[in-house]
């Protein structure tokens, strides 16, 4: 009798040991349900590890029969009186957020949050000092400090404007009539980005419900910063510093934020249309490239353009900037997965492959046409590959990334040389030639290569063309308007004497040391 009771007790304890982990894995928690329901694009990561845990038992390849555990089960089956776990674990109701709101703090994903904090820092690193060095090395010695000051000041002013207005009108749903075109006012001055310690509640965005909204807002801020900073390259060495500040302020609010809303906020009209832009091929690069081209036309060429050699100050700085851009782009693209998951890993992989292919592609094109592979060409090719893969980073396979990089390298080389001469604009550092052309190439190729198994939908070249065209047209018109408004406040260009003297001394009373 004693042995019988002991056997029953042993059987019950064994049963509990075997079943407990299974129950833990199959009991979905509320945050998980909310997360999966709220992701705009469902991840296609492999299913949870429950089937995998059972694999060794039923695997034919191992040569072990499925009843391998039978000899170990020496105890009889638990009696019927033993309480069995319910067949269906009650699932909390799935809550789908359609706008930012408060959730329980323990519903956040720690790994996702940590990765997004890291990605945010990486993207800021792309601008400070990445873009500052990249551009600073390419201008003449007398205007290097002005370029760096313009990038730094742009970062500061865009940050405050994003906090005050930009984030709200870009990443919250708008009113019903204007909803597809511009966001609401609920997050002006970052209102509602709360962390309530006592109640253990935290605000999350409906676009990224696994991380605090403060982190998501900061991540998107770094995108707004770098987009505006990219435009600086088109008007270096001649735009008045005060005009730069006014232009950047208006441009961020009137051009960047609405386009971000169109493409990335689920109620945006391009998002509803099905335009794919994983990390900003159109929002960031086509937009910045087009704005740069308009600036170049509006300001006119630098004095002596086309007649004098404008020797770059130090291409070593440009190389250092390129390295920072390449590394920072991992945060840019892999961070756009808004999770530390398989898609982020894929985005990082394709980003690196496309950058390498772009560098080699540009190098070969330059070698063939000019007879020399230049360092600046390699740096430009890296950026071209990175730009092109940006809209596709989470949607394509690594093999496609090679195509993105190779096509972009050649296309952007043409954009910065042949097309530049056709356009006859002093787009000084080739913002349109590299970012505009690379963004267009990447957006269209996304329509070709986007895989349904990754993106959730099949890519459509027509849809991508509509998206890219709409962004180009809006950016063209609104940038021209913003420049005109700016010109009503201050003169856009420095005087001829100031331009000859250099913007470092005339705009900032500083001069580069030896």
């Amino acid at each position: 009798m004693y042995h019988c009771k002991q056997s029953i007790a042993l059987a019950f304890s064994l049963w509990l040991t075997v079943m407990a982990p299974v129950h833990a894995q199959t009991s979905p928690a509320a945050p998980a349900a909310l997360t999966q329901a709220s992701q705009p694009v469902p991840d296609t990561a492999p299913p949870p590890s429950v089937p995998l845990a059972a694999t060794p038992v039923s695997s034919a390849s191992s040569g072990t029969p499925a009843v391998v555990l039978a000899p170990q089960v020496v105890v009889p089956t638990p009696p019927a009186v033993v309480p069995t776990p319910p067949a269906v674990v009650p699932t909390p109701p799935v809550v789908v957020l359609t706008q930012p709101g408060l959730v329980r703090a323990d519903s956040l994903n720690g790994a996702d949050t940590a990765w997004m904090l890291m990605a945010t820092a990486l993207v800021l690193l792309m601008t400070l000092p990445g873009i500052a060095l990249f551009y600073g090395g390419m201008v003449r010695r007398k205007s290097v400090l002005n370029v760096m000051a313009s990038v730094l000041a742009t970062c500061a002013i865009v940050s405050l404007l994003w906090f005050a207005v930009g984030y709200s009108i870009a990443f919250t749903p708008g009113s019903s009539a204007l909803g597809p075109y511009v966001g609401g006012t609920g997050r002006l001055w970052f209102a509602g980005l709360d962390y309530i310690k006592d109640a253990q509640q935290v605000a999350v965005s409906h676009i990224a419900p696994n991380i605090p909204e403060s982190v998501y807002a900061m991540f998107q801020l770094t995108f707004a910063i770098i987009t505006a900073a990219l435009v600086v390259g088109a008007f270096v060495e001649r735009m008045r510093f005060s005009a730069t500040l006014i232009f950047m302020s208006l441009w961020t609010l009137l051009v960047y934020a609405p386009i971000a809303h169109w493409v990335w906020e689920p109620s945006g009209w391009l998002a509803r249309l099905g335009t794919l832009d994983f990390a900003g091929g159109s929002v960031v690069h086509i937009n910045a490239g087009m704005a740069g081209l308009v600036c170049a036309y509006a300001l006119g060429p630098r004095r002596g353009y086309g007649r004098e050699a404008f020797s770059p100050f130090n291409l070593g700085l440009t190389m250092a900037g390129t390295g920072l851009l390449w590394v920072g782009w991992f945060g840019f693209n892999a961070g756009s997965a808004v999770a530390a998951d398989g898609r982020a890993g894929l985005a990082m992989t394709v980003t690196h492959i496309a950058a390498a292919a772009g560098a080699l592609s540009w190098m070969v094109a330059e070698w063939v046409t000019r007879g020399r592979p230049s360092l600046l060409g390699l740096c430009s090719g890296v950026v071209a590959g990175l730009v092109a893969i940006t809209p596709a980073a989470g949607y394509v396979q690594p093999s496609a990334a090679v195509v993105f990089g190779m096509v972009a390298g050649v296309a952007c080389y043409w954009g910065a040389t042949g097309l530049k001469r056709l356009l006859r604009a002093d787009d000084s550092l080739d913002v349109f030639g590299v970012h505009g052309v690379g963004g267009i190439v990447g957006s269209l190729l996304t329509g070709v290569f986007a895989s349904k198994s990754l993106a959730g939908v099949d890519g459509s070249v027509l849809t991508q063309l509509i998206g890219a065209g709409a962004v180009m047209l809006y950016s063209l018109l609104m940038t021209a308007l913003v420049l005109w408004i700016t010109s009503l406040c201050v003169s856009l260009r420095v005087s001829e004497a100031d331009e000859i003297e250099g913007l470092d001394i005339t705009q900032h009373a500083e001069r580069l040391g030896t």
Binding site: G306, G371, R421
Partner: protein, 117 residues
């Protein structure tokens, strides 16, 4: 000879040198410093011979005349090393490939004029 005429010829040579060889010169210094003018004339004639730029040779001779420079009418043959350097790159025809990119002009343009890349 008027100073303006000297400057005009020097400026013309300056433009030709920049366009054909990529060398940037100082026009004013060319008409005021004999040694500098002599060196520019020598360089221009050498390039005219090497690369077949007849107009460059003509303008160099005009500057030499107007500056009363005593320089040989025919430049000395280029050193072997320079000839080897001037030989076309092997492989793809640069001009054909350049045209396919719409960039035949920039392939021959001086570096950093009308573009960085």
């Amino acid at each position: 000879m008027l100073a303006n005429e000297k400057i005009a010829i020097a400026a013309h040579l300056h433009v030709l040198l920049r366009r054909k060889t990529g060398r940037v010169t100082d026009t004013e210094w060319m008409v005021s410093n004999r040694e500098y003018a002599l060196e520019i004339v020598r360089f221009a004639r050498e390039k005219a011979t090497q690369d077949g730029h007849a107009d460059l040779g003509i303008m160099a001779n005009r500057l030499a005349d107007i500056m009363a420079l005593t320089a040989p009418a025919q430049a000395a043959p280029a050193p072997r090393a320079a000839q080897a350097k001037a030989a076309p790159e092997p492989g793809f025809n640069l001009f054909t490939a350049s045209r396919s990119f719409g960039d035949s002009e920039s392939a021959q343009a001086p570096r950093y004029v009308a573009g960085l890349r």
